[in-house]
């Protein structure tokens, strides 16, 4: 059995695909260099990242797929979904084997799998746009902690850049321990290790909060309660739209 190893970047992955086609490889797994799995009798092949090869694969994909579908390839790779590489690999085999665009052939399980997975990822990206709750710090930075199942914050960065163009903000991924910091000019990837943020509820310790911050949190909680129509109470419906796993960092759901 063949296991292909690469550096986990998107260009790296496209380079892997290039080598697969060029050398007619039949991998049973595609994993990062640091993969811990030690598989007996596996033939491990390391593949280096080559931007030129990656670009050729990307251009070929663009010719065969619509924008939505080739972006889905990017999103799925980025998402860190379990087995993402093999799912994409199987899909691309079919894409390149067919003379016509197959992205809508939903009778094919590999094509449908791509569509479904991408839908899940886009849904979670939307949940970030919905459920980010910024807390304003004393130095004027709006900070939010999130804990998404997929790695989707990069997909929504431009939404937040456009919307909050005149304020500094940080959106931080607690699960992957990295985040994005926008300083009104540009957005940077950051790693923070701070004991000022409680990872259990996302709260910033009050000594570094802006003066009015807690007051606005109170107002928001008050609004949240007051806008509910008691005669129509329906917690099941609430949970269906706003799954419980997102509650831990939601200001309005904290005591």
């Amino acid at each position: 059995m063949v296991v292909l190893l690469y550096d986990k970047t998107f260009d790296g992955f496209l380079s892997v695909i290039f080598e697969i086609f060029k050398n007619k490889l039949k991998p049973e797994r595609i994993e990062g260099f640091e993969s811990q799995e030690n598989i007996l009798f596996a033939e491990k092949i390391s593949i280096g990242t080559d931007p030129e090869k990656a670009a050729r694969v990307w251009e070929a994909l663009k010719k065969r797929l619509t924008e939505r579908a080739y972006n889905a390839v990017y999103r799925i790779h980025l998402s860190g979904a379990a087995d993402a590489e093999m799912i994409l690999y199987r899909f691309m085999l079919k894409v390149f084997a067919s003379p016509v665009n197959i992205e809508e052939n939903f009778g094919d399980p590999d094509v449908l799998r791509i569509k479904k997975l991408d839908q899940q990822i886009c849904k979670e990206a939307e949940r970030i746009r919905q459920f980010v709750r910024f807390q304003k710090t004393a130095d004027g930075i709006y900070y939010a902690l999130m804990d998404p199942q997929f790695n989707v914050i990069p997909i929504v960065v431009n939404h937040f850049e456009a919307r909050f163009a005149d304020q500094q903000w940080i959106i931080y991924d607690s699960r992957r321990n990295y985040g994005f910091y926008y300083n009104c000019e540009q957005t940077m990837v950051i790693n923070l290790s701070s004991d000022k943020v409680n990872p259990l509820n996302g709260k910033i310790s009050s000594d570094i909060l802006a003066e009015e911050e807690l007051h606005f949190q109170e107002l928001w909680k008050k609004y949240f309660k007051s806008t509910c129509i008691e005669e129509r109470r329906n917690e099941k419906l609430q949970m269906q739209h706003m799954p419980k796993k997102y509650w831990k960092y939601l200001t309005e759901k904290q005591g």
């Binding site: 939903f106 709750r133 910024f134 909050f164 107002l219 509910c228 129509r232």
Partner: protein
């Protein structure tokens, strides 16, 4: 001061909550530079209240003082409730601070009537004007237009707001007069007309120059209360369809009557709001807007009210067994949409997917078709035809479906049914 603003918010959010509209979609507003806010075309729900309703906008009243005495409204003047009023600065401030924290998509501003319609409108317009011009705020704004407001103020509101709405509330003129004696039908219809004209002109100008000043780019909407007066679903839905086709409304909202003023004998005594009926009306509205149904296919003189037990699409299918079964490998999009258990999304997948090969029931299931429902209405090659609607009696199927639903449903659970 802080305590006071909390209290005001409680009163004025509580007073505004009966307006069911929460949509924040329909405009795309890009941030023109380094300022605050964008409006996204599809609208974002930022939270969900304990009643399961989406919270997208800060839905708030400028004041709940009102000189009118509408029977169905908590804020009517004869009610002894806590009253409060915001200054325009207070609302501007709340909107911006909530927006910056990503709590909301924007503002939904309404108000009770102070002194007269125009006096009130002027104050509301000031809020939205300040947001746009002083604070360069680009987020979403929905503003209610007060019945009886002058054309000029409605015009001004439209230049700042994304959406304007005038609530009709009661579907027939006669019953409106009865329950809201201070309002007159013309006072409601006129502002709707002004808005419609403003939008038409804006669209024309837009053809000439891309830079034409915006006017209510997300269109107008209204709300109809259901169950406070004896109108049939047919009366309600015909009004809705004429609002969609003649006044080009973007949305009609249906609000199950909540008996807030039970002492008023003009109103029916309800133990709970008619949530199931409201839900059926929304489904019918969807069939009309997205499933290419005509209103008289859904409700007509023979059946003026929607079936509460099953959804209107299933109900239509059971009344028309002669149209089924539908061959999913051949039928056109319109017919496929009429199959119970198939929504627009799976209908699209079917049309696209069948180009690549015959669809089987297994593939249909994977495309999101609810086979439990659809199986009685389709053929796709390998499905046995022994229990098709044309062979089984429609009454039998209706019984089967209602029992399935009842088995699943606990009391008070109607809203948990997703649209289909």
């Amino acid at each position: 001061m802080r305590q006071e603003s909390l209290e005001k918010l409680e009163i004025l959010a509580g007073a505004a909550k009966y307006d069911v509209s929460c949509a924040s979609s329909g405009t795309q507003r890009e941030n023109p530079g380094k300022t605050l806010g964008t409006a996204s075309a599809w609208g974002i729900c930022h939270s969900f209240a304990d009643d399961g309703r989406c919270i997208s906008l800060l839905k708030i009243m400028l004041t709940n003082y009102c000189i009118y005495d509408c029977a169905y409204c908590v804020n009517r003047k004869s009610n002894d409730v806590k009253r409060a009023a915001f200054s325009s600065d207070e609302i501007v401030d709340l909107t911006i601070e909530f927006y910056r924290r990503n709590y909301i998509e924007g503002l939904f501003l309404s108000s009770g009537v102070m002194k007269n319609a125009d006096y009130t409108m002027e104050r509301m317009v000031k809020v939205v004007k300040d947001l746009r011009l002083v604070h360069r705020y680009n987020g979403y704004i929905h503003m209610k237009s007060i019945p009886g407001a002058s054309a000029q103020l409605v015009r001004e509101a439209g230049t700042y707001a994304d959406r304007l709405s005038v609530n009709i509330e009661i579907s027939t003129e006669q019953n409106l007069k009865y329950l809201a004696p201070d309002k007159d039908y013309q006072g409601i219809m006129k502002p709707m007309e002004y808005i419609y004209q403003g939008i038409l002109e804006y669209k024309e100008e837009r053809q000439k120059t891309y830079k034409a000043p915006k006017f209510a780019p997300a269109g107008q909407s209204t709300q109809l209360i259901v169950g406070a007066t004896p109108e049939s679903d047919k009366q309600i839905l015909s009004l809705a369809s004429s609002l969609y086709s003649h006044n080009k409304l973007k949305r009609v909202y249906y609000s199950g009557f909540i008996p807030v003023n039970s002492y008023d004998k003009r109103l029916p005594a309800l133990s709970a709001p008619p949530i199931v009926r409201e839900h059926r009306l929304y489904q019918a509205d969807w069939l009309y807007r997205f499933y290419r149904f005509k209103m008289d296919e859904i409700v007509n003189d023979a059946n003026p009210n929607l079936d509460l037990e099953i959804d209107p699409k299933l109900s239509y299918a059971l009344k028309h067994p002669e149209l089924f079964p539908i061959d999913v490998n051949k039928a056109d999009y319109e017919m496929i949409l009429r199959i119970p258990g198939v929504g627009p999304r799976s209908a699209n997948l079917i049309i696209m997917g069948r180009k690549h090969g015959r669809l089987t029931s297994d593939k249909l299931r994977k495309m999101g078709v609810v086979m439990k429902r659809a199986q009685y209405f389709i053929t796709c090659g390998e499905l046995s035809s022994s229990n098709l609607v044309s062979e089984v009696q429609p009454e039998y199927l209706k019984k089967l479906f209602t029992e399935q639903v009842k088995a699943k449903r606990k009391p008070n659970d109607a809203l948990q049914l997703s649209l289909w």
